[in-house]
Assembly symmetry: C2
Homo-oligomer: 335 residues x 2
Amino acid sequence: MIEIEPILNGNRLALARLLTQIENDTHAGRAALSGLFPYTGRAHLIGVTGAPGTGKSSLVNQLARHYRKSDRPRRVAVVAVDPSSPFTGGAVLGDRIRMTELSGDPGVFIRSMASRGSLGGLARATAGIVQAYDAAGYEIILIETVGAGQAEVDIARLAHTTLVVEAPGLGDEIQAIKAGILEIADVLVINKADRPGVENTERALRTMLQLAHPVHRVFRHHGRLELASPSHALDAQSPVAPLWVPPVLRTVASDGQGIPKLAEAITHHQEYLVQTGDLERRERARLQNELEQRIQEALVNRWRAAAKNGQFEELLKKLVAREVAPEEAVAQLVA
Amino acid sequence: MIEIEPILNGNRLALARLLTQIENDTHAGRAALSGLFPYTGRAHLIGVTGAPGTGKSSLVNQLARHYRKSDRPRRVAVVAVDPSSPFTGGAVLGDRIRMTELSGDPGVFIRSMASRGSLGGLARATAGIVQAYDAAGYEIILIETVGAGQAEVDIARLAHTTLVVEAPGLGDEIQAIKAGILEIADVLVINKADRPGVENTERALRTMLQLAHPVHRVFRHHGRLELASPSHALDAQSPVAPLWVPPVLRTVASDGQGIPKLAEAITHHQEYLVQTGDLERRERARLQNELEQRIQEALVNRWRAAAKNGQFEELLKKLVAREVAPEEAVAQLVA
């Protein structure tokens, strides 16, 4: 049994202990998350994803510093997730770099998670950690992942604003692979923008953006067909829901260049989400998804508890021997 | 209602029609697959995956030709799956290239599928198409996908032997991203091996292989600890189950160089799977996975049919308003 009051009151040790329970998916951790749920839904969730070598961790670091040092300092929490193979060790390294600059600030909380078991388990643990941060009163939550396919999509579902980070000199091929990732980007960041080739990277990204947001994604505006543009997105007077076209921004995270502009773009996107009702829609879709997942689990657990001993094994054996088709096996098992 | 006899008898038109039903996930398609199930489990399934630009389609093309022209010609079927965004159009292009060389051969059947809807739906349709090919008597089934994350893993589960295709000059970064893919590779192919930089690519792959198959993956052999090696894998006299270490092979698919060696490696892997009992284990794991998926679906469908009208929507609303926690909502919905 985990007390939730200390977590709501900002006790860091209590939060750290809860995160461990969430990572290990214990009963106590689940119960505590259930108790914390009414206090969630207030934080702005920012996803940060990109290939290894783009400098995501430094960028997250600088964004955290920026939010701490602004006129109205915000409480910032970071969860860094490395869904790739254990031998890359990215999460651990990233943690060490950040610790030196931000440790000691009580308004910042950082947690790293490396791959453990299934991708599904990792996505669930990340969602739980974000929920705990949210209830604990962190206003900005940064969710950092190494770009590795399905993981980004899961995290894009979790985050309100998703940054996709690129860097010059990663080659054209990488961009061909990552075309799908552009579709989840709300803001595109070219980090390490002091490196040669930054113009090429920006040109390639803009070309791909045009492909990802093609001409058919126009909308009716005062009866005329128009292409969506960022200026529309920020125009509160617009009578129709505008489209958000991801801005492309340059940063040099190592010395903080471009970070204020990036924070501004994130704020713009947040305003856009609120004005268009997208924030509510995303939130609702996320909770619907979670509810469906949990119903499914509950049904399977109940079925398992009631299932006849050995019947599953027996039918699986017949299935392997092609003596029964899957449909028949299921009909018998679920009868 | 689809007749299954014409499909078992090798009628191409009947097979083509069934594949369309499977792609559209119709009731008739499912029923036919159920009827065909007893006739499956005979084909060797070969997965071929890799980044865009590696020449996978040409490689698949050449492998199909090789199996057709061998001393004992095998019937070959290909399913090319492009899970990436619609705007890449890879599947369609690949199809056109292959058609010119293999069309007219009654021993070859080719089908392309582009992304439609969910990744899960695509993986299921691919599994159905492979099952139909298998029942129709195709002995070699080639499953081609563009490397895009989760899709490869799903296909590796389906295939008996998975080829991962690389090419020189794709840069180091790409290889860092794709490290996870090495873990699903049974055979590594460096295609376009006549290009400069092939030595670097091979060196990088071998380094990564050592990371993916680290020293702790040794096994006891006559009481001594030994590192696994391909020669052990092929030694039927070995008293312990050896490990398969993926060979690294060079090919030039455009003119057929290296294709016979590649086909040989595939045969070796097939023999290895049979000798170690891995083929049976993989098959069993695949069917267990399918059975679990279907039980889950059946339970959800049954729940949906019995659910009170509007109760789900009502509880979702309360969830969004934080008036109820997910656990409580599920308890009420599943009660």
